[in-house]
Symmetry: C2
Subunit: 344 residues, 2 copies
């Protein structure tokens, strides 16, 4: 009995489902009564004992029912969830997004509202982006605002202080140069190219050229910080069990700093499709009692970013997973269409 036969699967499934639904340890009687498994409590107890031995269930204490272990959740998510996945309810996007940034913001908000957990969206990874256009706007005598636009439609602005005045013409000469030279190239190539150009130009005394390259480089570097949209963290306060206060604090710390979350989502953006990280798999977030359901979204067939939901380990995977998947698909479509050309 060290492999999972049908009955073991069935009972495990019931325990997980009812525990998610009821939020309490599940006893043998509960299963005979609620499920259609047609076995007596005694039999269920035997099966549960087996499941516990195999590491899928655990006992909070002697006279309590069973609770899924992380291994139990993992098995449930990977193997048992198939026929339980709920159809996605129609998604009510707010009116026309103003652009990709707005779209991602909406996505995280929708995820949060529809699940009552926290919703999160990672903007296309900088390395994945394509240089489209850079523009310089003179704000004051020696101060320049650089606006960097990627092919994906994401904007980044950086403020510069120069060591001498620049005319409008010089500024547009600079941007024209950069746009001509780098337009259409992926960012990582642009970076390398700029470094090379800088070396080449070093000898010549061409103030404009040198500073154009410098500004371009810095603008791109600044844009390279990942962007994260995080909404509905308050929901976690409502859902969380307050018996572990430290854990809660660590989680909120991670929310506030965003950095860890960003790393995790970036890593998740490596492999396409929906992924579920359960409990201590999210240790980097400072929590062992939360799960992350995340999916990549794509453009041009390649994953460029990810969206997801953070909730308690006993979150309702059967609705969250399809929802995240659906939102990701709609993001993919959006970025696809965006790339195609201007809307309408």
């Amino acid at each position: 009995m060290d492999t999972m036969n049908d009955r073991l699967r069935e009972v495990l499934k019931s325990v997980v489902v009812y525990h998610i639904r009821l939020g309490v340890p599940i006893g043998s009687r509960t299963i005979t009564k609620l499920s259609e498994i047609g076995l007596s409590p005694a039999t269920i107890r035997n099966v549960m004992a087996d499941l516990e031995e195999l590491g899928y269930l655990m006992h909070p204490h002697t006279s309590a029912g069973r609770v899924p272990t992380e291994k139990g959740y993992r098995f449930y998510v990977d193997q048992l969830l198939g026929d339980l996945l709920e159809p996605v309810q129609p998604i009510n996007w707010p009116s026309r997004p103003e652009g990709p940034a707005d779209m991602l913001h909406n996505a995280s908000r929708l995820l949060s509202h529809m699940t009552n957990y926290a919703g999160v969206a990672l903007a296309p990874k900088p390395a994945q982006r394509t240089f489209k256009q850079i523009e310089f706007v003179g704000l004051r005598p020696r101060q320049v605002l650089a606006i960097f636009v990627s092919e994906e439609g994401l904007l980044h602005q950086t403020l510069f202080e120069l060591d001498r005045d620049v005319t409008v013409n010089e500024l547009s000469a600079m941007s024209e140069y950069l746009n001509q030279r780098f337009g259409g190239l992926p960012l990582h190539k642009v970076k390398a190219q700029i470094l090379e150009d800088m070396r080449a130009v070093k000898e010549r005394y061409d103030w404009l050229l040198r500073h154009a390259l410098q500004l371009g480089q810095q603008a791109i570097d600044t844009a390279a910080e990942g962007e994260l949209y995080l909404e509905g963290t308050t929901n976690i306060l409502t859902q969380a069990n307050f018996d572990d206060l430290d854990e809660l604090k660590r989680l909120f710390k991670a929310f506030e700093e965003k950095y860890q979350l960003l790393k995790i989502l970036e890593q998740c953006a490596e492999t396409p499709g929906v992924q579920v990280y359960i409990g201590s798999e999210n240790a980097a977030l400072g929590t062992r009692t939360c799960s992350l359901v995340a999916s990549t979204y794509e453009c041009d067939g390649r994953p460029i970013g990810s969206v997801g939901v953070i909730g308690p380990t006993r979150m309702d995977y059967s609705t969250v997973i399809p929802l995240v998947q659906s939102i990701a698909q709609q993001l993919s479509r959006f970025f696809g269409e965006w790339r195609e050309g201007p809307a309408r």
Copy 2:
């Protein structure tokens, strides 16, 4: 005995100070022992009874010491704090801010780190700002990015979709028109003027002019949403008393939505100087157990925005108030210098 004599003041002060320091109800013995008031517990008890009758102190229960009421805190802050205000420790600003937005962000972060409460900064109120410059960048055939810059150095970008293509020349014609016409005017005047111009132009069929006005209007309207920098909310989790969970949730909800907080700070920006809002005076934030210490910062002698700290009612006012004041002064200086001209 319905006015506050010296002894009443002295005892009230002790209760507040020790309660802030120790976090527990203060009994008569504690005061005789810790303070240099030189009176026996019995006497203190009499005084405390008076203070309670006057509404400055309260009893959690019969056999507990006294705790300040809101009225007590109010009196303490307004009348007793004078000689207790701690000198501000030197403030360690991070390296040169990139601009006003960065500066405000730094301010809220500093406040949060130095107090271990939440720090908040409100950007100059839109109505207070002055139109400096608007620039249009064409991103795609019918799509335009408007960058609006105020005299105070705050940037706002808005994305537009037009109903026909525009050339670079047309875009710069539009921005030049707007800049010439409105440069240097306070925003509220610009708004009115645009509306007027729009009526005037309505008759003529001048696509460019009409759309310039329209874009200008929308860009300004978008910029008119207040900007709020909020940091260190996690600290509240650590400080808060968890006996009122609902309260905590409401507070974090308010943090997440920012809107209420924005309103309060905007209102606070009306009157110059440091202000303290105690307990239920912050009901709009969903909390009755927090205080807000806020101060306006100025430019050109007029208050333009505000910064502050949100913490528990029993926060350490004697260090927080001078700190907020100092940060506000430094913001004022920054905005003053910024207005003067480019740095260095």
